[in-house]
């Protein structure tokens, strides 16, 4: 049964933001990315069989794009604000910093599995890989995270 955008939005917004927080570690950015993903999926609701799965993929992709562009964006902001006393968000939590140093796939696997409670299949679907690969990502990601924390 097709659902309307309003129902879809109300049902999934909080989860979308939570997933994005897992993937980018910042609530403000997560809210924007989740909103973007919700809008993108909402426009196609009529043609989507499983909106929740589609939304998971979209959030993961949006957050991946953000990670790709974030470094450059931060430099642009730094340049544009040169001379203006601006403080940039640098996490003071060493766990968030450690997560930020993992590969995106490892980070996604760990945070979505252990914090957002996704299944391996859901993570595999969103990352576009096999469930077995997710398990490898989890195993290696945990090891990497430990190394980063203990560094």
């Amino acid at each position: 049964m097709a659902i309307d955008f309003d129902t879809f939005y109300r049902t999934h917004r909080a989860d979308a933001v939570r997933w994005a927080v897992a993937l980018v570690g910042r609530r403000d950015v997560a809210e924007d990315l989740a909103q973007d993903a919700l809008d993108a999926v909402g426009r196609k609701l009529a043609g989507i069989d499983d909106p929740a799965a589609y939304l998971r993929r979209t959030v993961v992709n949006r957050c991946a794009s953000w990670h790709r562009s974030n470094a450059r964006a931060r430099r642009r902001e730094a340049r544009a604000n040169a001379g203006v006393p601006t403080v940039y968000t640098q996490s003071t939590d060493e766990m968030l910093d450690a997560l930020a140093r993992l590969s995106y796939q490892q980070r996604a696997a760990i945070t979505l599995r252990y914090w957002a409670d996704w299944t391996d299949d859901q993570i595999a679907d969103a990352l576009g890989c096999a469930p077995a690969t997710v398990r490898v990502l989890l195993h290696r990601g945990i090891a990497e995270l430990r190394k980063e924390i203990e560094r």
Binding site: R13, V21, R27, D28, E31, R75, R79, V84, L99, T111
Partner: protein, 638 residues
Amino acid sequence: MNDDEMIERMRAALDEAAATPVPSDEMPLVTTAPSARGRWMAVAAAVALVAGGVAAIALNRGADDATSVTAPVPGPEVELVGTAAIIDEGDGPKLAVEILASLPPSGGVIPLSGFDWSMVEGEQSVDGTTWTDFLTINGTWDGEVFTVTRRPVEPPIIDRAAGIPTPGCDEATATAASDAVATLDAPALLISGWRIDTTDGRCGTEVVAWFDSAELRAAIDGLRAQGHDVTVTHTFVAVQGEQINTTTTMPALVGVGSWYELDLPGFTAEEAVYTPCCPPTVAPGPATVMAWRSLEAPDGGLLTLLATPVLGGGPPTLVYAWTDMTDERAQELQAKVVPGAGLPYVLDDLTMELVGIGFAGMGELTAQRYTSADGTIELRIGDYTGQYDHLIDAEHRPVTVAGLPGYVVDTPAGPVVLWQPASGDWAELIISQGLADRVDEIVAALRTAPWPGEFTPTTVTVATPTTVLPSTEYRGNVGGIIDSGDGRGPMLTFFWLDSLPPQGGSLPLAGFDWDMVEGEQTLNGVTWIDEPLGLTGTFDGTTFTLTEPIAGPFTFTDDVLTYGTLTAGCTEADTAPARAALDALDQQALGLIESSDYVWDGHCGVQVYAMFDTPELRAALATLGDDVMVRIAFQPAD
């Protein structure tokens, strides 16, 4: 720490991140008219600020009237932006944050001025009540009336939904917080409403307020001190960022991004050169460049915008260019370009997508030159600085570059290949004319490659404001005068963009009346005269004020400030170092009108056209070497 402990710690960190609003000291804030760049960043900050739910706007004391406001208000000089609906229930248009879902709806609170219904589209009317959807609205607030300063636009910039509720709390806890919010003096604190949000085992209470204020913060902090989980979303936040100062040097930022190598026999690769970006600029700041491409077809049209800020503030000068679309379509799209909330401008047309944004001629750049007996190829990768402008008025065709879509553009100097690498940078191959017939071979020989290495950070000297004495009377020639009908009044124009009506205007002109000239034309609210005029007047750093009637163009015998040796026997490629140095200058701060290569009769260099002769200009041009020719538009009248 075992795996379980580490995962538990990760969960706690993410729980905290999910509940943490944007730090308030992250926001650059504001009171004075900023440059275009300042505004852009500050507006972006304003959006983030709303998303985070915490504001940090410096506010002034406002009126005492509790029915309007007792909370401090930003003051009428501060432009605000926010999301609200507009509703007129028969007593004039008002802003509404929460609309009662009746038919007709109700909920207007703050009266509007400067607004009429022709400024919006899609409003609905039932039984004498007229209302809009939620819109992005700019304006000022004097404590009683909100004065609209721009046409309200869709979409709203603020997500009206709640933030993430705290995990693990129960509804009774949230209800207690809500009950505590109910004890506050909502009208006095300009609280629009609040709500409990409970989802998936998490809950919280979100307060929606019109504006930030010390009183509101104190009240909310008081509730938090009692253990209530309360967040705040502000509806209106300040638009403008304060340009506090400029510094004289800045460390270079070392770039990392996509890179390519050219695998072509007969070519020798030089060292890659990194140019940092960007020094802080003085008012009015750099011009913004934007480009939108049609989604309807691969080459369904491209519209570019150059938004040049004007000394002294006011709306920037907007110059559009387009290709692969009709003039009628381009003008239709231009009418849909509106000031943005998170971007400088937004093209409100679903068939077009924003494909490039940056500052004109100002961006980080890494370049590498390949030389051969037949010519040179320069690979340039960096920020968007208007690369799409290559396509305007030039033959171009689509091409695939290392698996990515791009264009080959024929320019008088030779072909240019343009594409966007995976890193989001912009890439160009500048190919000299001698290799024009080998473009496809060159493109095919391009391979992705590792970033060429760590570059040594450098320091960039910042141009200082030009020194022009306000009391000095100047005399000079301009290309005409235009009043674009946008409220800025008449503007001096040095060069025109050839459209109808034309586009131009770079310096406000005072003491002028259209009776002073003959032959002006008017179309679509734009009045202009596009013939050379001789002006005499003073310049205060912002406005040129006429002190004598307008004359025909003056003839100067000494308008060439410096005529360098202009190297003989050189080619256009030899001007590259001087051209690169010229590009690195803050041309706007130095009052440059135009600059270009200069190749004539086997001699070459760069030529510069500047508004005034100043010590700063001379010092800057001295760094370019000898092959520089400078023309000055305005010279002391004596």
